[in-house]
């Protein structure tokens, strides 16, 4: 059976991009700052709800808000899709606005979530944030005015809906990859900055960092805001891909997917998150019957092949933890000018003055 790459590549690229942003977000919080934010899915859903609610309502208003059509049902969604197809500027503008709004709202909610982080550590913080994630999902399911509750809110158009079929998904995948690349560079720069080193010092010994006059609670609040903003951007990108907000999508499994990617790739190593995200994307695809069909194998195994994915993922995590506990790519020293000088045995006079640690 021939494979149609015009469907496959956009799917894999979009999944990889969204996974990567989620993993970067968790890596900054946990890998660098030691804050196990297992409520990652909550901040992801905040971005999705923000983007979905803004886009659908503004589009509905622009389309004339027909009184005889249900806003939250498929006919209403079809009207929004049609409007987006004929108004490229409107949907592209809404996409940018929604993305920015998701980032800001996600960061604000993340900063609020930092309050328990100031009082709790380790396992207790993780449990509280898992509960926050579940509470968010239950709220979304029950509060229908936000995004349709259990019915979902359809009709969040692809920003490139005005392009021909297939080109729309390809263009969106490229956009997601570009945003993910931007987020990656941002995360690398942030973690190599003085603020990144402050985070590592808090992670390794908060008391020692405090003794040196560092404001650990403030730094924790900042990194949770940044990480949550990133997760919200991932959620917004996700909702423009799925084209609807659906409360049941925001399950704890998403938080654990982020954890898996970081543990596999390597904690506090952004290249590791690249590896982890690529691993999750590929394993999710190659452990499905459809992959066998593409290879031309018409085989009905006596077991459910879909569950192999969970087995393989679990097995690889166990193996990595056993034999490479720091992940496939272990943590490396921060990439500062001073470190580069030390590694190359050059004299300080030959390089620029390193940035001052004023955090």
């Amino acid at each position: 059976m021939a494979v149609d790459f015009s469907f496959l590549l956009p799917l894999l690229a979009t999944s990889f991009g969204i996974y990567l942003i989620l993993a970067l977000s968790f890596n900054l919080e946990y890998g660098y700052a030691g804050q196990p934010n297992l409520g990652k899915v909550f901040f992801y859903s905040v971005g999705a709800y923000a983007a979905g609610a803004i886009t659908t309502r503004v589009l509905w208003a622009l389309a004339g808000a027909p009184a005889n059509v249900a806003f939250m049902q498929a006919p209403g969604a079809a009207i929004r899709q049609a409007f987006a197809r004929s108004n490229p500027g409107a949907i592209l503008g809404l996409f940018v606005v929604s993305l920015l709004a998701a980032a800001v709202i996600g960061a604000a909610v993340g900063y609020l979530a930092a309050y328990p982080a100031l009082r709790l550590r380790g396992d207790f913080l993780a449990i509280v944030l898992i509960a926050v994630g579940e509470a968010g999902r239950v709220f979304g399911r029950n509060y229908e005015p936000l995004a349709g509750g259990v019915f979902g809110l359809p009709g969040v158009p692809n920003p490139f809906a005005w392009l021909p079929a297939r080109a729309d998904y390809a263009a969106y995948a490229i956009l997601v990859l570009a945003i993910a690349a931007g987020m990656y560079l941002f995360a690398v720069r942030l973690s190599n900055s003085p603020f990144g080193r402050l985070l590592k010092s808090i992670r390794d010994d908060e008391l020692a960092a405090s003794v040196y006059g560092k404001d650990a609670p403030r730094a924790k609040g900042h990194i949770l805001a940044i990480g949550s903003g990133l997760a919200a951007v991932a959620g917004a990108l996700y909702v423009f891909y799925v084209q609807q907000v659906y409360a049941d999508d925001f399950i704890p499994l998403i938080s654990f997917a982020a954890v898996t990617m970081v543990i596999l790739g390597g904690v506090a190593n952004h290249k590791g998150t690249l590896v982890g995200a690529a691993f999750m994307t590929l394993v999710d695809f190659v452990t499905r019957p459809v992959f066998l069909a593409i290879l031309g194998i018409n085989w009905q195994p006596p077991f459910d092949l879909n569950y192999v994915r969970y087995l393989v993922t679990g097995l690889i995590i166990v193996l990595v933890l056993l034999f490479r506990p720091k992940g496939l790519l272990a943590e490396r020293p921060v990439d500062t000018v001073a470190m580069r000088v030390a590694q190359s045995w050059k004299t300080p006079a030959t390089v620029d003055e390193p940035a001052r640690d004023d955090s």
Binding site: S15, Q73, G152, Q243, D248, A293, N298, Q300
Partner: protein
């Protein structure tokens, strides 16, 4: 004395030419023999995607039963095509949607990447609305075996739905409840698109058309303990006034239904009123005395009553059950009423392809309503309305009862006519 290294004997050019010629001849001969042995018509295999959730909180137990029902239809069709000497075969390609909108979207993209143009699935209305734009844009036919929500009812799209929407059942049930003299109903429902959708339709109909009064409580579908929700239901029934005019409506599946009955049987208020159920409550598990005698006693005492689309039992459904049991002895299709619809959805998909004469989304889409018009399957008639949803047939009312041998069963006692929206009690 220097030792001369032995000369490596080089292959002569004629020898190489001879070997190449022999290989070409042998290859050609083999190819010719294979051609002689090959069947005259080239076999064509059309993929049928099975975008059915088999994991996740909602479908991890129900999903595999429905998927296997669709695969059974494919196997039966292939056997029939082989017996007829047809070169056409169908290949089922299952893909777990995990019951989420995200999973459904990705599943359809994966199947499209494998060249699939006809899909059985997805299961829920939330998933269906998530894939709607994708299938319409890319001309992929989807036949959902269990989406019943009104939110996905759109004319002239590529989504077909084997069951009717919940609207006629809600009409029938509200009419039945009212005609039996009940004016107040305490409702407990699963908080998913099916439960919430049916509860809304019933409540609206019962209150606006029949002037009834309702109080409802929902529960999370992943909850294992429903004591709090059943307690709230009891409070609601007391608020309405437990008496001969008050009843309970339960909208649940199997596991959650058993949990609700187990909690309710300990409550004196809930044990004193009559219970009604959605069509998803007509399950043999609730009458399994060997496994759970207390639940059986409760549903008999509560006179659990509901509807099921007619004909619920016909020779095709019986044949389906037997074939299913033969192929999957460890699974029971009766545990998932929508497995019958999955079987029919797969049959409709394949018959649509055969009738179209080509594997093309537009052609299959055009043929499915025509094929469905004259198809009577394991779940009854599949004639479709303008939205591509099965038109509701008549509904048969049932209630729990004991037969002459004191064996529990679902006794049918009335019929609701879809065409006239009238209720006819059996003499």
């Amino acid at each position: 004395m220097a030792v001369e290294a032995p000369k490596v004997k080089k292959w002569s050019v004629p020898l190489i030419i001879a070997i190449v010629v022999i290989l070409i001849l042998a290859g050609s001969l083999g190819w010719a023999l294979l051609q002689l042995g090959a069947p005259a018509p080239q076999q064509v295999t059309y993929p049928i995607g099975l975008a059915i959730a088999t994991s996740g909180a909602t479908y991890q137990s129900d999903g595999p039963i429905r998927r296997d029902a669709a695969q059974l239809a494919i196997d039966q069709m292939n056997a029939q095509l082989a017996a007829a000497g047809s070169p056409i075969r169908f290949q089922g390609i299952p893909d777990d949607t995990q019951g989420t909108a995200d999973g459904a979207k990705a599943s359809f993209q994966r199947l499209a990447a494998a060249g699939v143009k006809v899909v059985v699935g997805p299961l829920s209305t939330g998933e269906a609305t998530a894939v709607l734009d994708f299938i319409n844009t890319n001309h992929i036919v989807a036949i959902s075996p269990s989406s019943t929500g009104v939110t996905a009812a759109v004319p002239n799209d590529f989504l077909f739905r084997a069951p009717p929407t919940d609207i006629p059942q809600a009409k029938a049930l509200s009419q039945l409840v009212s005609s039996l003299g009940y004016t107040k109903v305490g409702i407990i429902y699963r908080l998913d698109d099916y439960g919430r959708g049916f509860e809304q339709l019933f409540e609206q109909r019962f209150e606006t058309v029949y002037g009834g009064q309702t109080l409802n409580v929902s529960y999370d579908i992943s909850a294992q303990d429903l004591a709090t929700e059943v307690g709230q239901l009891s409070t609601n029934v007391q608020t309405l006034g437990a008496g001969p005019q008050t009843a309970v409506l339960v909208v649940a599946f199997e596991g959650d239904g058993i949990e609700i009955f187990n909690e309710a049987r300990l409550d004196t208020t809930l044990s004193s009123v009559r219970w009604f159920g959605s069509e998803s409550m007509r399950r043999s598990a609730f009458l399994n005395r060997t496994a759970r005698p207390n639940v059986v006693d409760f549903v008999l005492n509560a006179n659990l009553t509901g509807f099921f689309a007619s004909p619920s039992l016909n020779p095709i459904s019986t044949a389906f059950e037997q074939a299913y049991a033969a192929k999957y002895p460890s699974r029971d299709p009766k545990k998932s009423p929508y497995s019958y619809y999955s079987y029919d959805s797969a049959m409709l998909a394949m018959m649509g392809v055969l009738a179209a004469g080509k594997y093309d989304g537009d052609a299959v889409k055009a043929m499915i309503p025509f094929v469905a018009q004259s198809y009577l399957g394991a779940s009854g008639s599949k004639a479709m309305d303008a939205n591509g949803d099965a038109i509701a047939a008549d509904y048969v009312a049932w209630h729990t009862a004991l037969d002459a041998m004191s064996k529990e069963y679902f006794a049918e006692f009335a019929r609701w006519r879809f065409a006239t929206e009238t209720l006819e009690f059996y003499p």
